[in-house]
């Protein structure tokens, strides 16, 4: 609110200031009108003679009315509650947040227990488990990117490139070399980490926005190579028929090939397609948990501490004898490695990959998971991934409004939790009574 307005409010003894409300609401309505006229007002429709323009001025009017009334109510509420309004950040969300991170250990343990038991629960049908493993891919990617963005503070907009490298590594290794999933996994991780270092070198001297632009470009370069290197990657047609992972050599198929034993035969079960889905679910759960434990552990080691120090202050880092080159490259490499693992899993889960799956929007999605969750917060990533990946899946009926809801949610987060859902940072070391540094 402008200072003048506040002063007037105080003078009016907290009464309703009608002219102010009308002015604010009118201004908002005007902005909405300007936006809604081209977006809602005109619509191209197929007709006999080609395209025709249809007009939907009723929609425009509705949008303007909603904005006007909404803004008027907001201003009125603020006027009335002005004096008692708690300082920003002390709202319900903040208090809930504080209670939440006091118990993160328990909440985390409960979440893991729930995740392990999920496929056994009565409501867990094929669809639920499938969504859950899709969700866990993003949790894992979020945790991986959290190393780069959350811990080391390097804004990476091309993270999907490493995901793509991992996916193509497995797809091509299984296609040409006949490597199994378990052999390809370390290969994919190593290749992705190599690409991470490759990206790291040219951007060593860049920070902030400039770094973001170059990483964005890197992501696009990888995708464009995948599209155009037809002889190697099969271009936009992608690679299909990627081998499914086996359970220690036991295939998940109704009728295994000669000399093979199927999973259901070995364990004396009836064949059910859900076995494979559940196996894939446990696979990604395992991979994601490895990512999480690794990150939690490395935060307490010198390299993890150096990442966080780099995020806080690069100059101070240097003057303490830390080598920024190594810190940045290790962050890029390790973040990329986890994306590589996740990419392999993605390839084996889908059985088909194409450059379509690795567009910029994926990078943006993963980054928004990290930012929304609160940079550096592991549990925040889970919550944000749920909000960004699973909720839109549930609200499929909304169809075209999904993105609208998504955008609105983002704006609300920016207003109420500008530093992410879980902005709290746990110290990595505590001092015990004896003066001994522990943990």
């Amino acid at each position: 609110m402008r200072p003048g307005a506040t002063a007037r409010l105080a003078g009016a003894g907290m009464g309703l200031d009608l002219p102010l409300i009308l002015k604010e609401a009118g201004l908002t309505a005007l902005v909405v009108f300007a936006l809604a006229l081209p977006l809602f007002g005109f619509r191209t429709v197929d007709s006999a003679g080609g395209l025709d323009v249809a007009y939907r001025f009723d929609w425009v009017a509705a949008a303007v009315a909603v904005a006007f009334v909404g803004r008027a109510l907001l201003v009125a509420m603020r006027t009335l509650g002005g004096a008692q309004r708690a300082r920003p950040g002390e709202g319900l969300l903040a208090r809930a947040g504080r209670a939440f991170y006091r118990h993160t250990t328990w909440i985390g343990a409960a979440a893991v227990a729930f995740a392990v038991l999920l496929p056994l629960l009565p409501f867990a049908d094929r669809y639920v488990i499938d969504i859950a493993s899709y969700f866990l891919i993003y949790v894992m990617l979020g945790w991986g990117l959290n190393v780069v963005v959350g811990l080391a503070g390097l804004l990476d907009l091309g993270y999907v490139a490493f995901y793509a490298v991992g996916a193509y590594s497995y797809a091509l290794a299984s296609l040409h070399l006949g490597l199994s999933f378990w052999w390809s996994l370390p290969l994919a991780g190593a290749l992705a980490a190599g690409f991470g270092i490759l990206l790291g070198f040219p951007v060593l001297r860049l920070r902030g926005d400039y770094l973001a632009i170059v990483t964005l470009g890197f992501g696009e370069i990888i995708r464009i190579i995948l599209v155009n290197w037809y002889s190697f990657t099969n271009g936009p047609n992608g690679i299909s028929g990627i081998a499914r992972p086996s359970f220690f050599g036991l295939a998940f198929s109704r009728s295994p090939g000669p000399g093979e034993v199927a999973f259901h035969e070995f364990f004396g079960l009836d064949y059910a397609p859900v076995h494979r889905i559940a196996f894939l679910y446990y696979l990604i759960l395992g991979l994601a948990l490895v990512t999480n434990l690794f990150t939690l552990r490395i935060r307490r080691l010198p390299v993890g501490r150096a990442w966080e120090a780099l995020r806080e202050d690069e100059i101070a880092c240097r003057s303490l004898g830390l080598n920024p080159t190594n810190i940045k490259l290790s962050a890029f490499a390790i973040g990329a490695m986890f994306a590589g693992f996740a990419g392999s899993f993605f390839a084996t889960r889908q059985g088909f990959i194409s450059p379509e799956s690795f567009t910029f929007i994926e990078s943006a999605l993963i980054l928004s998971i990290v930012v929304l969750g609160g940079m550096g917060s592991q549990i925040g990533v889970v919550i944000a991934a749920f909000a960004i990946v699973v909720l839109p899946e549930w609200f499929r009926e909304f169809q075209q409004y999904r993105m609208l809801v998504f955008g609105a949610a983002m704006v609300m987060i920016m207003v109420w939790r500008p530093r992410g859902l879980i902005a709290h940072r746990d110290p990595t070391v505590r001092l015990h009574a004896g003066g001994e540094a522990g943990r």
Partner: protein
């Protein structure tokens, strides 16, 4: 000589910030560099640390030419730097800040070193779990010095430790600096605008004007010099405000 700077020129783009600086710091000494805002004091300290690197001239530490080394290599040779504006890690706890200070030290020395800096700055022990950003200005400065000491430096570079602090706190910090020098034998090179405290503490001092050394002498000599008194002690006190 522990540190000798010979004919050093440093540029920021086209601007020549240091115009041929000669300066020496002997082992076990406290040497201060005073001068007005923008004289190039901080630039000299940063140049010793290799960021930016000197365009001309030589910087020798303990007989080794460090002019072309990068910052982290210089620090690993036994120079610690408490940079201008303190630059502690605000979201990290006091302990974590100190842990980062011990980056180049041996892990088994950590507990001893911690004990040592807590003896120098008992307030930091009380505040050990607190985030760096929530400390007061004076405590942050103490943390910056303590963090620098964690690497067991032979030469401690300090950039305006008195900046923005209450006189009582400044007095306390300078007292601790004296102890660090007397008891641990750490050589201290101190850049200051607060000429009064700096010259009282220092064995020797240099005065920098416009990117070059204008005068040098013992702390007592410089304090007695009428020109210094006028420029940095009496008039200076008003300028500093």
């Amino acid at each position: 000589m522990m540190l000798s700077v010979t004919g050093v020129h440093t540029f920021y783009g086209h601007i020549e910030a240091l115009k041929g600086v000669d300066l020496e710091v002997g082992a076990g000494e406290v040497v201060t560099l005073i001068g007005a805002n923008g004289a190039g004091k901080t630039t000299l300290l940063m140049t010793v640390c290799g960021n930016p690197q000197a365009a001309q001239g030589r910087i020798v530490f303990d007989g080794e030419d460090i002019t072309r080394l990068s910052t982290y290599e210089i620090v690993r040779r036994g120079i610690a730097h408490a940079p201008e504006g303190r630059r502690i890690f605000p979201r990290m706890s006091v302990i974590e800040n100190l842990q980062l200070g011990a980056t180049i030290g041996q892990p088994e020395d950590f507990a001893d070193d911690l004990e040592r800096v807590f003896l120098l700055f008992p307030i930091l022990k009380e505040r050990r779990e607190q985030r760096g950003g929530t400390l007061s200005g004076g405590e942050q400065q103490m943390l910056a010095i303590a963090r620098a000491l964690m690497s067991r430096p032979r030469l401690l570079l300090l950039d305006e430790p008195s900046l923005g602090l209450a006189p009582m706190v400044v007095k306390h910090i300078f007292g601790v600096l004296r102890r660090i020098n007397r008891e641990a034998g750490t050589t201290v090179f101190l850049v200051e605008q607060n000429a009064f405290h700096a010259l009282r503490l220092a064995d020797r001092g240099y005065v920098m004007v416009n990117g070059a050394i204008a005068m040098t002498g013992t702390g007592r000599e410089l304090m007695a010099d009428p020109e210094i008194r006028r420029a940095y002690l009496e008039g200076g006190r008003r300028d500093r405000a």
